[in-house]
């Protein structure tokens, strides 16, 4: 069994007797009904190290960490914490053993202050005042030790995402965590915030804290971890010292076959303008501009990437271009049709103009999870002549359509009658892409095409997008994954707070330059305080 080749990393001090590992999991198994989420998983994490765990969605990473944090109890197997056998039946016991967890979706109360969030569940007595005093002192100490500052009296709901994450880390440290588990911590962060998080993690490690980092971003594993374990299909398939491995090997271990991370694509040969936006502003119900004076063009045969942290106007941009929202000011030209506030375009009309839209949130806008795949595969095109016989939907044509889409786009399982919600994220996404690409649109709007999608499917989706571009389609790609933007885009626009704050060609773009554009925009905006601490420390 490959899992047995355990590594003992860390311990750089090289003492005479190596200390026991902070965590030792032995032969952990856990099933949910027929699904075996963890099969005979063993893991050792050295004290005072940063240990990465990578794997595709459904590989069992989260289940394993949930067992460690007491959400589930393993069906079999043993856990040792700092050399002592432990039984962790709930979160309270995990906290008692010095295990802290920073969840992917923050477990914070928005209407509380930072201080109140920190003491929740770790109060020193029945009254709040002494707890707050004690926590304020402790936060000041942690700030000194790890350079980890958040204003204690600020309301969490008013904080930036990066600051909220720091509150989560402070919460864990306040509870005396010596083992800190972070579940996909960088998904919501800017590159600068990510750098800052990694600096904090390194400082924690140097003080003897053990950090476990769950991620699917291999670059982060290479950047910050000391050792890495790879999971696939509920099993632990490899343990490596980070220094002894590389991205390609890890990707291959994760997927179980060779994966090409680099995308081969010819330089773009842009044709005529297919999509034009001039000074487009979209204001929400409260009068706040969500999209602020945005101008852009997309030509046939090119991929234009929109980079930016989510929530900075990308969703509104997709909505206004696809006809879901109408512009408050400015004008759009979609395949020759002029669109303004007075003459808005209906999504159905936009679709007939050759605008296809793969929405960011596939569960909310992309498909109906309770519909069968064949029904989800015609959403938006249900009025087309090929799916209708008079006033009645043509069931045979609809099923055939779905089967053929499934074959072309390798959707598994290829069952048109299966509930849409029953497919994995990657296969749902492939079904939506197939639906939107098959009518050969002139313009393809794509939002977060690989969110929650496995690495193998990502490769496929990326190749499809490039193929569409080469066939002369104008592609607008919105993604929070910088790697994806960099890999696919011929031109890159950077968005911040509803504005376009920078433009780069695909060739001249790199992560640092895009990150700086975001940070500069942030500096000159109203979040000046938060932004400036970030850029001061940027390399």
């Amino acid at each position: 069994m490959p899992a047995e080749q355990s590594t003992t990393t860390g311990n750089p001090a090289g003492g005479a007797i190596p200390p026991p590992p902070a965590i030792r999991l032995k032969h952990i198994s856990k099933s949910f009904g027929a699904v075996r989420a963890n099969r005979d998983v063993s893991l050792e994490v050295a004290k005072g190290s940063i240990h990465g765990i990578v794997g595709e969605n459904g590989a069992g990473k989260s289940t394993l960490m949930s067992i460690l944090y007491g959400f589930y109890e393993a069906d079999s197997g043993e856990i040792e914490i700092a050399g002592r056998p432990a039984r962790i039946r709930n979160s309270q016991e995990a906290i008692g053993l010095g295990i802290g967890m920073v969840h992917q979706h923050f477990m914070l109360v928005d209407t509380f202050t930072v201080l109140e969030n920190v003491i929740l569940g770790a109060e020193s007595g029945a009254l709040l005042a002494p707890s707050k005093d004690q926590a304020a002192r402790e936060l000041a100490r942690l700030e000194n030790e790890y350079n980890l500052y958040v204003a204690p009296e600020a309301l969490v709901g008013d904080l930036l995402v990066g600051e909220r994450q720091r509150v989560e880390i402070l919460k864990a440290l306040y509870r005396g965590a010596e083992i800190l588990i972070l579940d996909e911590p960088t998904g919501v962060l800017t590159p600068q915030e990510t750098d800052q998080l990694f600096r904090i993690l390194r400082a924690l490690r140097d003080q003897g804290v053990t950090v476990i980092l769950i991620t699917h971003k291999l670059r982060e594993i290479m950047d910050v971890t000391d050792a890495v374990s790879v999971m696939r299909g509920g099993q632990m398939v490899a343990h490596r010292k980070t220094a002894d491995t590389d991205k390609e090997e890890l990707a291959e271990l994760m997927v179980g076959r060779k994966v090409r991370l680099e995308l081969d694509k010819e330089p773009a040969s842009p044709g005529p303008t297919r999509l034009l936006a001039e000074n487009v502003t979209v204001t929400d119900a409260d009068g706040v501009p969500r999209l602020d004076n945005v101008s852009l063009t997309v030509h046939a045969g090119e991929i234009v990437g929109i980079a930016g942290v989510s929530g900075n106007g990308q969703s509104e941009l997709l909505e206004v271009l696809s006809g879901i929202a109408k512009p408050s000011q400015g004008r759009l030209v979609l395949s020759g049709r002029e669109v303004t506030a007075q003459a808005p375009v209906h999504p159905d009309e936009a679709r007939k103009l050759g605008i296809a839209h793969v929405p960011e949130d596939r569960h909310r806008l992309g498909l109906v999870t309770s519909f069968s795949a064949r029904e989800s595969a015609i959403l938006g095109y249900q009025g087309a002549a090929r799916f209708n016989r008079g006033p009645i939907l043509d069931g045979t044509a609809i099923t055939q359509n779905c089967s053929s889409l499934m074959e072309q786009f390798d959707v598994r399982p290829p069952d048109p009658w299966l509930r849409s919600g029953g497919f994995s994220g990657g296969n749902q996404q492939k079904l939506i892409l197939a639906r939107e690409m098959s009518p050969h649109p002139e313009v393809l709007l794509v939002g977060q095409p690989t969110r929650g999608v496995d690495i193998g499917a990502i490769e496929f989706i990326h190749r499809q997008l490039v193929a569409r571009r080469d066939a002369g389609c104008a592609v607008l790609l919105v993604s929070v994954e910088l790697d994806e933007i960099l890999a696919l885009s011929d031109r890159i626009l950077v968005m911040f707070e509803g504005r376009i704050v920078g433009e780069l060609t695909g060739a001249e773009a790199d992560e640092r330059r895009i990150g700086l554009m975001m940070a500069n925009a942030m500096d000159s905006s109203e979040h000046a305080t938060a932004g400036s601490t970030m850029t001061e420390q940027a390399p």
Binding site: S62, S66, F71, Y72, N90, S91, Q92, E93, A94, I95, M101, H103, H105, M107, L108, V109, D110, T111, F112, E116, N117, I119, L120, G121, A122, E123, G125, A126, L127, L128, A129, S131, K171
Partner: protein, 324 residues
């Protein structure tokens, strides 16, 4: 001038008496809803408590035993609501309505079966009720202008449950904002997952909140049956549970503004009682029905948007499911 002053003092005195059950029920609802459990069964719990207290007082003659019986009855219904909403993740509104309907019918059925007076309980003698407490010197103060009536009418001369209600408000404020339990209570209504991952039992916390809600409703029902009145009459809570709920929402789930809203409803009620039969210059005698409808009309008007946007606790009404 003197007349107007006396009228004002008497109206305020009546306001206090009418507001007492509203205040108790509003604080009860506040505990429940802050924990994330919608409670429209304040009405049913008060009615059940009113019946339990009146029946116990009629049989034993002790108002204190009556209070205990009422609180236990109301607590039982609160835990039933909790069992449906917390343990079985039922719909809070459906469970609340079910309790209201159940109590409405059951009190009448039991009343007829036990006392055979058409669903009422026997009229209580004075010593089986909570009676007004005369404060020292109230008689002596009577002659003093201004302060005298103020002390004698407004401060002195209420039964103990009125003073309890007035004490419950600052106590609620203190518990909610200054105690560990309050912090967790507010947190569990906003984001139960945060509470769960902090290692605190969401279910236990919510059960404690609905239990407090039940006990306070028990006091409110007792007040209605054996302090304000002298026995149980069918449907005697007459929508006060809903008014209390509205007052709590007006107060945006905060104790002191909720108190203000309760007093406002009480004042409207008190004025409507005092205006009956009075003829107003230029209009003549206002029909009794219109005056009696006044508090309800005002409620509708205020609820319809005069009070600003009330933001409920975020997780209210959402059953907590440990998803992972």
């Amino acid at each position: 001038m003197e007349d107007i002053f006396v009228f004002a003092v008497q109206t305020l005195d009546a306001t206090l008496r009418v507001s007492t059950p509203l205040i108790l029920a509003a604080m009860a609802g506040l505990f429940s809803e802050r924990s994330g459990i919608i409670d429209i069964s304040l009405e049913g719990k008060m009615l059940a408590a009113a019946f339990a207290s009146a029946a116990t007082a009629a049989v034993t003659g002790s108002p204190w035993l009556a209070l205990a019986a009422a609180m236990i009855t109301s607590l039982f219904l609160a835990l039933l609501h909790g069992f449906a909403c917390i343990t079985h993740r039922g719909n809070h509104v459906v469970s609340g309505v079910a309790i209201n309907i159940l109590v409405s019918g059951l009190t009448i059925v039991l009343g007829i079966a036990w006392f055979a007076q058409g669903g009422q309980t026997p009229l209580l003698k004075a010593d089986a009720r909570f009676r007004p407490i005369e404060w020292p010197g109230a008689q002596a103060m009577e002659g003093v202008p201004f302060l005298g009536p103020l002390y004698e009418e407004l401060i002195s001369g209420h039964n103990i449950l009125v003073y309890v209600a007035l004490l419950v408000v600052p106590l609620t404020w203190w518990v909610v904002y200054r105690s560990r339990f309050g912090l967790r209570l507010r947190a569990v209504g906003e984001n139960p997952l945060a509470v769960d991952t902090a290692g605190i039992s969401v279910a236990f916390l919510r059960y404690r909140a609905v239990a407090i809600c039940g006990l306070l409703c028990g006091i409110a029902g007792t007040y209605i049956a054996i302090a304000q009145n002298a026995g149980f009459i069918r449907e005697m809570t007459a929508g006060q549970g809903y008014i209390a709920l509205a007052a709590m929402i007006f107060g945006k789930w905060r104790p002191l503004p909720a108190l203000g809203a309760c007093l406002m409803f009480g004042l409207l009620d008190a004025i409507s009682i005092r205006l009956q039969g009075v003829s107003i210059a230029g209009i003549g005698e206002v029909p009794v029905q219109l005056i009696q409808a006044l508090p309800y009309i005002m409620t509708v008007v205020l609820l319809a948007g005069f009070i600003g946007k009330a933001v409920a606790p975020k997780a209210i009404g959402v059953p907590f499911v440990k998803e992972r």
